[in-house]
C-alpha cells in the first residue's frame, strides 16, 4: 500500500526518486511493528504447532517425506472412528439445525410475546457455552441409570427405560447430549437471519395468494438457505472437534476420532506416533472444509440480511 501512495506522489519525475527513500524505510516497519506481538503470538501458539502436525503427517520418524502415515489412516481401527465421528457430527448438526430453526422461528415469527425471544437468546448464550464435562454430568443425572427421568419413568409410569434398549452411554445418548449445545448455537446464529426476513416479503406473498407454507417453502427458505447450510457446516465442525463431553459421558467406550487421538497422545495406543499426526491432519482437513463452507455461505447470506 505504501508503494501505491509513493507512486501517486513522486512517480512522475524519476529524478526525485532518491528523496523518498528514507521515508519509505521508516514508516513501514514502524507501522508493522504494531501488529508484531500479535503475529508472534499467533505464529508460536497457533500456526507453527498446526504446521508441525501437518508436516509430521507426511514424515517418517527420521524426517523423510512419506505418504505411509496417510495410508495408515485406512486401517479399520482408524476408519471406524472417523465414520462414527462423521455420522455423529452429521446427525447432531442436522437435528440441531432443524430443531433450532423451528424454535427460533417460533420465538421470532410465531406471534409469541417479545420477551420470550430475548429470554430464549439469553438462555441460548448460556447453553451453547455449557458444554464439556458438566453437561455430561447433567445428562447422567437425568437419563443415566439412576437419573431423574429414568427413576420417574420407572416408579410413576412403570416404564423400565433400560429395558426399552435405551442407554445413555451410546451413540444415541451422545447425540442427545450434543444437541444441548448444538440447538442453542443454531438459535443464536439463525435468529438474526430470521429477523432479516422482511415483513414486506410475507405481505407481498400473501397478496399474491400464497399460503403460509408456500411462503416458507418458496420465499423464506430459499433466502435462508445459505445461512442454514453455513450454520450446518459450523455445527458439524463444532461437534467433530468436541472431546470433553464424550469423554466424561462415555469414558472411552465410544471410539470417536477425538477420543482416539486423545488416547494416542496420552499413551501411543496405536504403536505408531506418526499415525497420530495423520489422524490430527485428517481432523484438520474435515473441520477445515466444514468451516470453509461456512465462511463462503455466510458471506452469501449476509447479502440478504443487509
Amino acid at each position: 500500500m505504501t508503494d501505491a501512495t509513493l507512486a501517486d506522489t513522486v512517480a512522475p519525475t524519476p529524478q526525485t526518486a532518491p528523496a523518498p527513500r528514507p521515508r519509505r524505510a521508516n514508516p513501514l516497519p514502524l507501522k508493522w511493528l504494531g501488529v508484531a506481538p500479535f503475529m508472534i503470538f499467533a505464529l508460536l501458539f497457533l500456526i507453527l504447532p498446526t504446521i508441525h502436525i501437518v508436516l509430521g503427517a507426511f514424515q517418517t520418524p527420521e524426517g523423510d517425506f512419506t505418504l505411509r502415515n496417510l495410508q495408515g489412516l485406512g486401517v479399520p481401527q482408524v476408519v471406524r472412528p472417523f465414520m462414527l465421528s462423521i455420522k455423529l457430527s452429521l446427525l447432531t448438526a442436522g437435528l440441531g439445525c432443524l430443531i433450532g430453526l423451528v424454535i427460533a422461528a417460533a420465538v421470532t415469527k410465531g406471534g409469541l410475546p417479545g420477551w420470550i425471544r430475548d429470554a430464549m437468546l439469553t438462555f441460548s448464550g448460556v447453553a451453547s457455552n455449557f458444554a464439556g464435562v458438566p453437561l455430561a454430568f447433567a445428562f447422567i443425572a437425568t437419563l443415566g441409570r439412576l437419573g431423574l427421568i429414568t427413576v420417574v419413568l420407572k416408579e410413576v409410569f412403570g416404564i423400565n427405560l433400560a429395558a426399552t434398549g435405551f442407554n445413555l452411554i451410546s451413540f444415541l445418548g451422545l447425540t442427545l447430549t450434543y444437541l444441548y449445545f448444538q440447538i442453542p448455537l443454531m438459535i443464536l446464529i439463525i435468529t438474526p437471519a430470521l429477523d432479516g426476513l422482511k415483513r414486506e416479503w410475507r405481505e407481498a406473498a400473501e397478496i399474491l395468494g400464497a399460503s403460509g407454507s408456500q411462503y416458507w417453502r418458496m420465499v423464506a427458505l430459499p433466502v435462508l438457505w445459505p445461512s442454514l447450510l453455513g450454520t450446518f457446516a459450523l455445527l458439524f465442525a463444532n461437534s467433530f472437534g468436541a472431546v470433553a463431553t464424550a469423554m466424561a459421558l462415555t469414558g472411552s467406550s465410544l471410539s470417536i476420532v477425538p477420543i482416539i487421538l486423545f488416547a494416542q497422545i496420552r499413551g501411543d495406543v496405536l504403536q505408531d506416533p506418526h499415525l497420530g499426526y495423520a489422524i490430527a491432519f485428517g481432523m484438520i482437513v474435515i473441520t477445515g472444509i466444514a468451516n470453509l463452507v461456512y465462511i463462503v455461505l455466510r458471506t452469501r447470506a449476509e447479502k440478504w440480511i443487509k
Binding site: 424454535i103 464435562v133 447433567a138 437419563l143 439412576l146 444441548y180 440447538i183 442453542p184 466424561a248
Partner: protein, 263 residues
C-alpha cells in the same frame, strides 16, 4: 388461520423448554440425593470441603485471570492499530483469529506437546512453570476468536481515527491515547470478552489434561469416575458460573448501549 401457527409456536417452545430444563432439573435433583432418603446439600458440603476442589478451582481461576490479561494485551492494541493504521491487514488478522475455531483444540495441544517438549528449541513442558505458561498461551489462543470479536465490535462503535487525531493534536502520547481514551471507550466490550474467556477456561479439560496440569476440568472428570452425587453438584456449580459470566456480559452490553444513547 392465525390461531394455528401460534399454537405450533407454543408447542415448539414448550418442547424446547422441556428438553432444555429437564437436564438442569435432573442435575440439581441428583446433586441433592447424597443422603439416603432425604434431600440435602451434603454433596455440596463434600465438594466444597475437598481440598482438591479448592486447589484445582483456584488454579483454574488464576489461569483464567492470566489468560484474560494476556488476551487483552494481545488483542486490544492489535485491533486498535489495525483499524487505525493497517486497515488492509484486517481480513488477515480476522482470518487468523478464526483459526482456533477451525483447528480442533486437541490438534493444537498435540502440536504444543510435540513442538515444546523437553528436547525441542523451546522446552516449555520441561518445567511446571513453563507448562503453566504454555497452558495460559493455549487458552489465550482458544479465546482469541471471542476476545477479538468482542473488542473489534467495541472499536466499531467509536470513531478511532478522529479520537486519536484529536488526542494527538492536543499532545497526548500513544500510551495516554490507549489507556485514557481507547480503553475506557471499549471497556464493556473488553469485559464481554473477558467473561467469555473465563467461562471457557474455568472448566476446560483437553488442554489441562494433556499438559498434565491440576486444573478444574480434569478434577471434574476424576470426580465423575469416582463419586456418585458430587459430579452433579460440580455441574450445578459450573452451570452457575456460566450463567453468571453470561449475565455480566449482558449487563456490560446493556450499560454500553445506555452510554451511547446519552451521547
Amino acid at each position: 388461520m392465525m390461531g394455528s401457527p401460534r399454537f405450533w409456536s407454543w408447542a415448539a417452545l414448550v418442547a424446547g423448554l422441556l428438553y432444555f430444563f429437564l437436564p438442569l432439573v435432573g442435575m440439581f435433583e441428583f446433586s441433592l440425593r447424597a443422603r439416603r432418603g432425604e434431600y440435602s446439600f451434603q454433596a455440596y458440603t463434600n465438594v466444597l470441603s475437598d481440598p482438591q476442589f479448592r486447589d484445582t478451582f483456584l488454579y483454574s481461576v488464576t489461569v483464567a485471570l492470566f489468560t484474560i490479561v494476556l488476551g487483552v494485551l494481545i488483542v486490544a492494541p492489535t485491533a486498535f492499530w489495525v483499524r487505525l493504521k493497517l486497515p488492509k491487514l484486517r481480513p488477515v488478522i480476522e482470518f487468523i483469529t478464526l483459526l482456533p475455531l477451525v483447528i480442533p483444540p486437541i490438534v493444537i495441544v498435540f502440536g504444543y506437546i510435540r513442538l515444546y517438549n523437553t528436547s525441542s528449541w523451546l522446552p516449555l513442558t520441561g518445567t511446571a512453570f513453563g507448562t503453566n505458561l504454555l497452558l495460559i498461551f493455549g487458552y489465550a489462543t482458544l479465546a482469541l476468536p471471542y476476545m477479538y470479536r468482542a473488542v473489534d465490535t467495541g472499536l466499531r462503535t467509536i470513531d478511532v481515527a478522529t479520537l486519536t487525531e484529536a488526542a494527538q493534536s492536543m499532545g497526548a502520547s500513544w500510551f495516554t491515547i490507549i489507556t485514557k481514551l481507547i480503553l475506557p471507550n471499549i471497556l464493556s466490550a473488553i469485559l464481554s470478552g473477558a467473561f467469555l474467556t473465563f467461562a471457557i477456561v474455568i472448566g476446560e479439560y483437553v488442554f489441562a489434561a494433556l499438559l498434565n496440569r491440576p486444573a478444574f476440568g480434569p478434577y471434574m472428570v476424576w470426580m465423575g469416575g469416582n463419586k456418585a452425587y458430587e459430579p452433579a453438584a460440580l455441574a450445578v456449580i459450573a452451570f452457575g458460573i456460566t450463567w453468571a459470566c453470561m449475565g455480566v456480559i449482558q449487563l456490560a452490553t446493556r450499560l454500553s448501549r445506555h452510554n451511547r444513547v446519552q451521547r
